[in-house]
Structure formats: C-alpha cells, structure tokens
C-alpha cells in the first residue's frame, strides 16, 4: 500500500491524498487503539527527568509566532505585532522582558511517589455543559 504523502502546499481538498490516507488506515483505527499503548514507558527512569519537551533553553530573540509556516524567516521577537496593512496594534508600554526561568523538574532525581488525582475536572460538573466549544 502506498504510504500517505504530504499534502501539497496550500491544498484545500487533495482528494487523491485523502483516499490513500483514509481508505484503509484512517478511521478504522478510531476507537480501536489499545488503551495500554505506551504502558511501561513510565518505568524508564530518564522520563522523570525531562522537563517540558518543547523547552529548548532560554527564549530566543528570533522566534517565529506559532502557526508560522515552516521555513518562514522571522524577525526579532515582537515583530509579529507590526502590520503590513497600515492598521493594527500599536505598541504600548511594552514590558518585553522575556523570562528565562528554567523549568523545574529538570534537575531533580527524586523518586516519583503516588499521585493525588482529581485536581482537574471540577469545573465541568459545575458548568452544566461539556468542556468543548
């Protein structure tokens, strides 16, 4: 079976691609994933020492805004607030200081203990609606 290919740039429908991607491997997997996927990885000690995996050290001054297409050249931090259309947000009393606080949990080698649970989810029961939008 041919492997799924990358959608062409700016493709909005890509029928042929979708037929390949979804024809066999797509929705058939839905609800069929074994709940134990990944079970056992927690025993790997090094996992406990990772911080947020997207953390790459101090914020850079040339970061692109999230959602920027890959390969786009980005200017200094904050440049995304400039507008090419003549309108847009004007810089106010910017406090552009970026934090360089290192995430915690990176250097400690403490042994994990038993977790508390239930610290998330209480708002759902009190809101009377689902958590989606």
């Amino acid at each position: 079976m041919p492997s799924p290919s990358t959608p062409p740039p700016n493709a909005r429908m890509s029928r042929s691609v979708k037929l390949v991607v979804m024809g066999v491997a797509g929705a058939a997997l839905l609800y069929s994933c074994a709940p134990g996927v990944g079970a056992g990885l927690g025993a790997l000690p090094y996992l406990w020492f990772f911080s947020n995996p997207f953390y790459r050290g101090a914020p850079t001054a040339t970061a692109c805004p999230p959602g920027t297409p890959p390969g786009t050249a980005c200017g200094p931090t904050g440049s995304s607030s400039s507008s090419s259309s003549g309108s847009g947000f004007r810089s106010g009393s910017s406090s552009s200081s970026t934090t360089t606080t290192s995430p915690s949990g990176d250097s400690s080698h403490a042994t994990p203990g038993t977790s508390q649970r239930g610290g998330f989810g209480s708002s759902a029961s009190s809101s009377g609606s689902s958590s989606s939008s």
Partner: protein, 381 residues
Amino acid sequence: MRRETITPRPGWQQKLEQIGLDFYVLDGKTYWNEQACYAFTSDQIDELEATTEELHGLCLKAVEYVVSNRLWERMRIPPAWADYIERVWRRTDPTLVGRFDLAYDGKSPPKLLEYNADTPTALYEAAVVQWYWLKDAKPEADQFNSIHERLIEAWRGILRRLPPEALVHFARFADHPEDLATSEYLRDTALQAGLAGKPLGVAEIGWNGRRFTDPDEMPIQVLSKLYPWEWMVREEFGVHVLTDTTAFLEPAWKMILSNKMLLPLLWEGFPNHRNLLPAFDSEHPDLGRAFVKKPIFGREGHNVTVVGPGVFDTAGGDYGTEGFVWQAYQPLPVFDGNHALVGSWVIEGKPAGIGMREDERRITHNNSRFVPHYFEPASDG
C-alpha cells in the same frame, strides 16, 4: 452558496456507525443531518480559505499585543500566569487546531463571530464523516477539507520536536460523545503520524509533587487536552502547570484567543476590517441597533443574548461571572428556516476545511445539526 434537500444514503446510520460516529442523534434530536447539504462555488471556498488565513494572522498579532503589553487583567487571566504564557508563546510551543465561527451568506464578506481556539469539537465530523458522505453522495464534487492530512502532518512536526519514546496523553470526558470523538480522532491522527498516544479522563490526571502523571504513575510529557484553559487556571492543579514540566496542546497562549475579549481587541486593532464586526467591552453606539452580548468565558452558546428591533434570543447557562462583551449583530443566513454557520478549521495555523452547522435558533449550540457540504471545482481547472 445554497442549501439542497437530498435523499440520505441507504443505510446511512450503519455507515456512520462503521466509521465511529454513533451520536448522529443527540438528546433525542438529529445531530448529523444528511437530508440536506450545503453547496458552494469554488470562488466562495477561495474566499473562506483566504478569510480564515487572514483572521488567524490577525489573531496572532492580538496575542503578541496582549503579551507585550501585559493585558492580563483585561483578558481576565490571572497575572500569576503571565510569565508562563509569555514563555510558551516566545518559544513557539506548537498548536494543532482551532475553529473560526463565521457568518457567511456567499455574497458578503465572511464575518468573524468567535474563535474556538482551545477546545473545538466537531472535528471528526468535519474531517472524516462528511468526507465519506461526499464519496458516496457527491462523488463528482469536491470538498474544502484537508483537515485529516494537515493534522497528520502537524503531528509529524511535533514528533520531530520530541525526544525518543515520547508519549502523548489525550485527556477528555468520555461521557460527552462529541468530546470523546474529537479526542480519539486526534489520537488516531497522532498514531498515524508515528506517535504513541494514551487516553485518560480529565479527572484521572495526577500530580505526584513534581510532575503530572497518568493513572499508571507514568509522567505526562505532552498532554492533548479537551478541557478549557480558563477552567484549568482556577482549579486545584492549575498552579502546577506553571512548573512547565508538561507540554500542552493547545498551548496556554490559546487562552487569549478562546477568550471573547479577543473580539473588542481585534476591532480596536483593525477597525472596519472587512471580516470583523464592531465589538466592545461595554455597550457602545457603534454597535448599531442590534447586538449580541456574549460572556467573556462562555461555551456552546450558553448565556449569549441577541437583542435588536424585532429580534430577541437568549440561551441560559452559568457563564458570565467574568463579564461580557458586546458585538454588533450579524444575522446568520437562513435557508429553509435554518440559521447556517460556517465553522472554518485552522490546522497548525493554516486553513484546512469547513464544517456547516445549522439550527432553527439564531444562537448556535453544541447540539446544532452538522450538515455536510461540497463545492464544484472551477471548470477551468
């Protein structure tokens, strides 16, 4: 743009169940409706695509504006979260999905009603279910829908940023079928991209004093959550997010975009933009004679009120304690008595497809019917 009355596919319920959509009836009412479909021209699809890209660009500028000027109080975001949100924003933690709700009649420019940027649902219906409908019912036509491919590609990008053996957890409430379908579909696309994924309930998320954990005491490195940031912020475990030991999808800066205060902010930054409606954080003369009052943190149409000459609709709920915004009223187009709403999907920052919802009421809510769509490709190819 038009609404066509059509004959459902023979055995359509079984067809839906075979691909995992078993909630085509919700609360005793039709949710998936294939007795009708919406038809667009290629030019109209072009306009929706361009508008979606434009609006997402404006929204990114709004995030930068809020972060740079520390408008946390205005956004009703606790200041204690400021540094964390800024850090996540600056280092470009990835984003997967969002959905603009647009008022569009096929003639006038689409208008932004709101951005469901944090916990959008009806993703599976838009990406997969209506695609299979198209293959069966309108095989000669096309559909604005590359959601599935773009999701897999987005996950591949995330995979490249993760360490070996990384695992993504998917948290949701399993007793809400539309939430479960959206979360499971996201997990499915992650698996197809080569990632390992593990589901859990929101209330099963644990904290062991150093890290978030799953019920097997496995550390949660990346959490795809279908649970709103504004709820997480105020709950017991919210403060532990600030340790930044877990990555979240969607990232915390989406708190700024899923917030209705975004609407007046955009109108201030881009007044009279063709795709924006006048919006303010209080009643304002520029609203005109008809307006919509929306809770700053609201979901599924709850506590939304439409007021105007000869027009009134309101939806109950428990939202609004953080305040409201006011937006000029843009009536949804009505087809055969149905108010039609365009949900335009953004995957990894790019427009990816649409899903149509319709309702007898002016206010769209979570049980509003999903109706498939198609368009005729331009004949000049």
